[in-house]
Amino acid sequence: MLLFRSEETVDRWCGERRIPRRPLVTLEQLWQLAVVWYASRLTLESRRPAPDEMVEVFAGIGLTGPFWDPTSDEWNEC
């Protein structure tokens, strides 16, 4: 995943590659994901969230739908 100044440069990046624009994530949302995934990474308790936990984390910061579901098969044809 990449960083962009604005939606406009995302659209230009997608247009150049002829790929659809996917959902955008704000820096605040990205920080919350980073904390959930990595804040305990240097500790004994560290582990990767399970798929159902991932869905819950994404939904908790407003990222919903099949794009954010690691068990979804709706993207197999993409």
């Binding site: 100044r5 440069t9 990046w13 996917r22 995934w37 240097l42 979804s72």
Partner: protein, 149 residues
């Protein structure tokens, strides 16, 4: 038990990265953990199977990704604790200060124009900017080609 060994290998690996900003290979992890290198390499394989590490393609003694850290330089450097770490993507760039519990400066750039866009984490919070992250690959496919995602 393999689980205990895997935890020891993982913690040794991550603590070495945190202290040095380098991703150690199996020999260095073995020395630091007091384990045979063969046991460390076997643990790398199990940790990869559990999606916790990504080995260097073609060289199972080295680690390409110990998320959020990258084993090679990337376009996502992270300056923290007086060291320069490398992240795998913009999500992981925030993941490094989250993992270290440290302030950070992240000299990133716009994915299309290349314009410098500096991110910062200060006192446990990201400094606000109107920038956005774009996830080109859906969650169900992140691990299929993790080196691209």
């Amino acid at each position: 038990m393999a689980d205990d060994l895997d935890i020891k290998v993982k913690l040794t690996l991550y603590r070495t990265i945190a202290e040095t900003a380098r991703v150690p290979g199996s020999a260095e992890v073995a020395d630091a953990a007091g384990l045979p290198e063969s046991a460390v390499r076997a643990a790398f394989v199990r940790l990869h199977a559990r999606r916790l590490l990504v080995p260097e393609p073609g060289d199972p003694t080295r680690i390409r990704m110990a998320p959020p850290f990258s084993g090679i330089p990337t376009p996502f450097p992270v300056e923290a604790r007086g060291l320069r770490y490398y992240a795998n993507c913009v999500w992981d760039a925030y993941g490094i200060p989250a993992a270290l519990g440290a302030d950070a400066v992240i000299p990133a750039s716009d994915g299309f124009t290349g314009e410098p866009l500096t991110l910062q984490v200060r006192d446990g919070r990201p400094v606000p900017h109107p920038y956005v992250a774009h996830f080109a690959v859906p969650a169900a496919r992140w691990w299929e080609n993790i080196l691209f995602t």
